[in-house]
Every structure is written in structure tokens, then in C-alpha cells.
Homo-oligomer: 340 residues x 2
Amino acid sequence: MKEATLKQIAETLGISITTVSKALKNYPDVSDKTRKAVHELADSLQYKPNSFAVNLRMQESRTIGVIIPELVHHFFSSVIDGIVAEAEKHGYLVIIQQSNESVVMEKSQVELLLNKRVDGIVMSLSNESNDDEHLKELLRRNVPFVQFDKISKLLNSSKVIIDDQKAACEATTHLIHKGCKKIAHIRGPVNPQNAIDRFLGYKKGLEKHDIPFDPSLVYTCSRVSFEEGKAFAAQILKEHPDVDGIFCITDLVAVGVLAYFNEQKIPVPQQVKVIGFSNWFMSQVITPSLSTVEQPSYEMGTAAFNVLLEEINARKENRVREPKTVRLETQIIERESTRG
Amino acid sequence: MKEATLKQIAETLGISITTVSKALKNYPDVSDKTRKAVHELADSLQYKPNSFAVNLRMQESRTIGVIIPELVHHFFSSVIDGIVAEAEKHGYLVIIQQSNESVVMEKSQVELLLNKRVDGIVMSLSNESNDDEHLKELLRRNVPFVQFDKISKLLNSSKVIIDDQKAACEATTHLIHKGCKKIAHIRGPVNPQNAIDRFLGYKKGLEKHDIPFDPSLVYTCSRVSFEEGKAFAAQILKEHPDVDGIFCITDLVAVGVLAYFNEQKIPVPQQVKVIGFSNWFMSQVITPSLSTVEQPSYEMGTAAFNVLLEEINARKENRVREPKTVRLETQIIERESTRG
DNA sequence: GGTATTTTCGAAAACGTTTTCGATTTTTAT
DNA sequence: ATAAAAATCGAAAACGTTTTCGAAAATACC
């Protein structure tokens, strides 16, 4: 069962392909009579333009690529949600690739997307992305490109981010306002800008309130997991029994911490207060519910697509365009884990 | 900055496009000398075949479409994870669409994917999918198509599913073995096959152990949410204070139930035992941890892609092929909420 | 009726590839 | 040296569209 083509319609109607094409796109230089005839036949044959032919002719795909470290994270799937919804509004399709936190994968996926001639790429970097070559290549080849969340600061592309440093500073300040005097920080891996900025924000929050920074209170995750949260909670309690506040790089880690405290019957928030980052769904559901930093993930998605669209359109109109950085607002959400 | 084409290579080398094309694909009828020359130039120009031209010529896209109700669910993002990984292995790209549980959306997305000439579609139905027309149309047009998880039984397509009825029966049996005498069921909406089968499984589990079925112990969700779980827990306790077991359509609902019991200091599992379905990440993390039915989501993804690939290849070779149903194994996971 | 204008149409090129088939050249066999 | 066989190449068609530009037909004007 073949798909209908312009040629078929033209032949059965005894007119030229050109006229059929114009009729369907309502060009002014085709008579009402033929226009109607064409439309009717096209409808009855369920004619759909062959997108390959269109793309080939038009030199655009109306498709964008998205590369993320891992799909199975509430944050990322929510961002994608936003991207897909916004893309659909503008008639774009979204191809999703996940790097599984590997730069090698990331590179081959950029390749793949370029081969598929996507109109643009939005991307959140894998943790081990210290190798920038494939990204620089994107800029060199002038392909529309926006980074979000986990970005490379040095790369002069458009970006959609939150102010991690500010948010982390606010989270730390929140703990201090709640009376914490000795605050530990479970930070993310060394590389990602994210982890660095949140760490710096933590430090700044302490300084602002004249609490001396103690490097031994900083614990570094390698995989940012529930299990690490649990393990570090135990370690913190052993090394610094008088800690009364913990700021975690992410809710998942914080939930691990809470799980350990629950097991050990350490009262939260009475003895230790805990705050996470990202406002994952489960954070409001666990006991005690977890205070956190709300990160507007869906909005990051829509923003990322819109910035990408601007980049794409600028290219189309041959405009030069400075990369643009969109910074989204975050918000402290107070729940039981820091209450009182 | 234009992409390199066969024509460019041909011209600078003073040979024909044909030969360049053949050289690159290592056809036997091109001399080693020219083959090498072509490869070298192609590499240095970073030549990539224009996929639109290839697709147009080849009449295939090496792209598949996936339609799911919602991305932001651990189950679905994990399935997609599996699909994408398996697709990548076979050189296929994946376009993701979400119906947001709306049939109208679902229809327009099927349209979109067909317009994009995807080689096949894998799909999990939205809850309100009692309207099958767009799916029947897929079968009529003979496009490779596999359903997974939320399927329409009546539709004669390939399928990747679990045995919901059997799994639900096992979950109910688990509660009974743990000593439950009066078991409530919080079921899903009326339409989805899923919800129906799990309900039937619940009923069968009771029958098998000679526990009379009491319709007033069945509560029907409309949105399958945390909030509904909480609300139904309250209602159950009021209407049937002696209930000692609850089987929930999904972990999310079960977590809602547990949250209410926590608030009301109802001891779980001592007074009431609770079991969920799907083994969401958070189920092992909350207190008390939740017993559940493990559903192999990632494997469903890989299986779905592989069945789709079989369908695609059958079409290519003009084979007729009976739709195939893959049934994946589930497993009861015992945790604190049914322990003891 | 003749010219000027407007309306309506279609030929053709282009997008970049793949593949068939015939032509040309080179090699081998006699 | 000549015929046969093998190796190497390229012209051309095809995939299905879009768009330019010129031609033809219809209409308007005087």
C-alpha cells in the first residue's frame, strides 16, 4: 500500500505536479476550481507530503536533537517533557539520546544527530565531560546549540541554567536561619559545574554569616546515589557528632541521609536538619518530608527549546547573534526536615 | 559552511558521482587507487551522507516513533531507556511523543509520525483510548506497530506485556499468605486493560483461597495519584476498620496510603499490610519500605524494539507475519510493608 | 478589433543520493 | 596479434518535493 504523491494526484486530475503543489499550499496563481479539485482528491487519498523530499528540498528537518546524561531521572524527564511540548507547538520533532554519563557516547551521539541533519541540538553534559572538542566543533560548524543544567561555562553557546551558586547559598542560609551552627555539605563530583557552584554557594552562605568554613565537613559523591547519601550520613555522624545541618547536592542523596537517620532513630529536624536540591517528587512524600530547592525543570525545557528556536531562526535569516543565557529562578521549599 | 556532498568530491577528483558513491560503499567495481583517493578526500572533508537524500532514495528512515501517556514516570522513562538503547544498537533513532493521556493528542501524534515516515511505531495507550480508529488505521496501512504495557486486547498487533492478571493474583496471594483476611483493592480507572486485569487478578487470588469477594472493598481511582491513595486510605479505614491488607494498582497510590497511615499512626505492617505494583524507585526508600510487584520496564523497552524490528524486516522482505506477543515475567518483592 | 493587463498554468531545475546497465578500458588467453 | 574475459567507469533515472520563470489563456480597456 503506497503513499499518495503529488504525481499521482496530478495524473488522475490531468494537470501538472507544479499546479498540484501550489494548489495544496494555496498559492494565489491557481484557480478556485482546480484548487478545490486538488484538495478534495488529496484528502480522499490521505495525501501527506513526503517529509524526506521536503527536507531535502528545503534543507531543514524540523527536528531537533536532545542529549542528556540519563533519562530516568525526574529532573531530566521533566525537562524533556517541557522541550517536547514546546517543540510540538512549533511543529518540531524531538530526537532523544542519552549519554549515560559517558563522553564517548556523547560524541557519537552528536555525530549521529548531525548525520540526521537535525536543525539544532540541546544538551546537558555528562559528568566526565572535560573533553570539549565535539562541542567546540558544533560551534565551529555554526549549528544551533544550547546547553542546559550541566553546562560548560567556557563554551560560548546559549545556555539555560539556574543560579546554582545563589540557590545553594540560600539553602545554606535557610539552615542557618533555622539555627544550625555546624553545617556539612555532601557535594557532587569534582567536574560538573553544577557541583562546583553549589559548593561555592555553600561556602558563601557560611561566610556571609561568619561561620568558618571547615573542609572536613565537605563530602564528595562519586555517583550521587541514595546509597552514598546513607553512607555519608553514617560517616558524618561518626566524624562530627555535633553536626546539626546537612546540605545535600541533590534530593536523592538527602533521602539517603534521612533513611540512615530513620534507621538510627536520629530525630530530624530536632538533632539534625537536612535540605536537598531539585524538589523531586518523592521529597514531599517521605517521612519526614524533605526541604529542598525548587528547580523549574519543565520551564527549563520550554526555555531551552525557545532559545534554540531563536538560534535556528537567526541562522535562517543570516543574522549574527550573540549566545544568550537564560537564568531561571529557584525557590526554597520548607518542609519537615528543617522545620522548627 | 556547507556540508560536503558526493558532487563536490567527484568534481575535485575529476571523476563521476557514481564512482564516488561506489567507492565509499566499497563496491567491487572501483579500483583500489580511486577508492583510496575518494576515502581520503571524504574523510578530510568530513563527508556525511545526507540522510534525507538517502531516506528518499531508500524509502526508509531508520527512525521509529514512540508514543507514551507520560514521560515523567519512572516506569515509562525506564522503558524508553530500553528502547533507545536497543534502537541505537541497530542504528535506529527514536522520536518520542507523549499523549498526556488524551486520545486526541494520540491521534495527531500518530499522524505526525506517519508524516515523518517513521519505519515503525511503538505505543502505550492513553487511559481514555476506547476510540481505536487511529490504531486500526495503522494496521490497515500495514505499518509496523507494537503495543506495550497499556494495550488494547482487541487490536491484532504485536504486543509486549506482563501478565497483569497473574501478577495481581500473586500479589493478593502474598497478602493472604502473610495472614490477611480482609483485603481491599484500590484499582485504576475503568478503561485501561491494565486496571481491569489487575482487578481480575485480585478477585482470582481471593477465590483461590476461599475468601468471598466483596465489591465494597474495591475503590476506583480516576487519576491514580498520591493524593487519591491518601484519600482512599482514609475512606477504607472509615468504611472497613477491620481491613488488614490493601493491594494498590500502583506504587504511587500505595505510597499515598502509607503516608496516611503514617500520619494516623496506624502501624504498617502490624495492623494493615500494603502491597503496590511496579517497583518504583522510591518504594525501597520510604519508611516503611513498600512490598511490590517488580515489572521489568527496561526489558519491556528492549523487547518492544526487537519485536518492532522483526515487523519492519518482515515488511522489507515481503513476508507475511503473524503478530507476536511477548509476555515478560514479574516478581513479588517483599519489603517491610508486608513483612511479619 | 487590437492592445494591455491579469489570471492560470507547466517545464524545468534543484536538493543528494543509489543503482542499473551499457560503454570503455585493461588484462588474459590463445 | 586477436578474441574473449575481466576490470573499471559513468550516464541516467529515480525518489518526491518546491519554486522560478516564462508561456498561454482569459479578461479588461479604449
